[in-house]
Amino acid sequence: MPFLIVFFRWLHVITACVAIGSVFFVRLLLPVGLRVADDSTRHAAFLRCRRALKLVIHPAILLFLISGIFNSWRAWDAYKTIPTVAHPLWGTHVLLAAIIFAIALYVLAGAEPPAGHRNWMLVTLVLLVATVAVASTLKYEREKAMTAAAAPARP
């Protein structure tokens, strides 16, 4: 059991790292690098990178769901002890994740990107970072509650 706990937390974290970093790279860094190329070359290189991003994001969504469900199940009893804080934070985290999944699936669908894909990817990046902030706060509140609960036991 401890191995599963550590494994699924590690899986959730590295999936987030890969997803955020990939979106950041493709949206903000790649356009700078492709600026020197002509239009057709730039578009071809961008489509190849977009295909690679699709191969990263689609499995990432699946891994997020699997590891997220396990981590939530594991921490649920702890969340129930701090409902006024955990409920909005966990709910916001899941809601933001669902929005991110929807946007990512829409933007990466098809052989060509949809209109406004640059803005959508920027929105996705901002939402990803916000989701991490909500998750970090939830984790902090949970640890704070555990520390406070253990405080009467200390001499």
């Binding site: 987030a16 970093g21 690098g33 190849r48 970090s136 902090y140 609960a149």
Partner: protein, 213 residues
């Protein structure tokens, strides 16, 4: 250590620092994945001079990202270590002798996370700022080391939380679950005081149990 900083500031600063630590890690890990594994294949059918110019510009921009993220990771990691230091070094007398070894275990995991993390960040900066494009094998090594570093951090956190749960278990008799908060119509649960063993030292004596009882 916690009392030296205003409580509101304490509870605002450390979540932000933790968030920055994760975001910086994400930018390095995901960016490294694309920089090392995707970009070379995406431009390999272009002319050589076009490949070099594209890769050179991407490398120049990503290098500054790696540098800033490295600084951020080191600073936020040091702050997190400072905050968690008492949990890695404080031993309690108690009936559960496992706890002292568990505290040491958490410290070793945290130390591993720090050492491997510093090494991989140094490698990442070296690879990004070297005059020539480094061989692909070194870049793959740095990516794998990044994943190992994250695992070591997850393990350290898990053991640290296990210690907290163990301490609660001494009071509430519940090793894995936190106690249920009573509703307004219920009275709070009464807690049984822990029964110290016969050899429990007094508070003025050493904090370690006396060997040989």
């Amino acid at each position: 250590m916690n009392g030296q900083m205003p409580e509101l500031l304490y509870h605002a600063v450390f979540p932000i620092l933790r968030w920055l630590h994760i975001v910086a890690c994400a930018l390095i890990v995901g960016g490294t994945l694309f920089y090392e594994f995707v970009i070379p294949h995406a431009i390999d059918d272009l002319r050589d001079e076009t490949q070099l110019s594209i890769f050179g510009r991407v490398r120049w921009v990503f290098g500054s990202v790696v540098l800033w993220c490295t600084v951020l990771l080191v600073l936020t990691g040091a702050a997190a270590a400072w905050r968690s230091w008492p949990e890695y070094t404080t031993y309690r007398t108690g009936t559960i002798h496992l706890e002292e070894n568990t505290v040491r275990l958490a410290g070793w995991w945290a130390l591993g996370h720090t050492v491997v993390g510093v090494l991989v960040l140094a490698l990442a900066v070296r690879l990004t700022f070297s005059r020539r494009v480094p061989p692909m094998s070194w870049m793959r090594v740095s990516f794998v080391m990044l994943l190992v570093t994250i695992f070591l951090g997850s393990a350290a956190r898990h053991v640290r939380l296990f210690i907290s749960e163990q301490r609660e278990g001494q009071v509430y008799g519940n090793r894995w679950l936190l106690p249920r908060i009573p509703t307004t119509n219920e009275s709070p649960p009464t807690l049984a005081a822990p029964q110290p063993p016969a050899t429990q030292p007094t508070p003025s004596s050493s904090t370690r149990p006396v060997e040989g009882g």
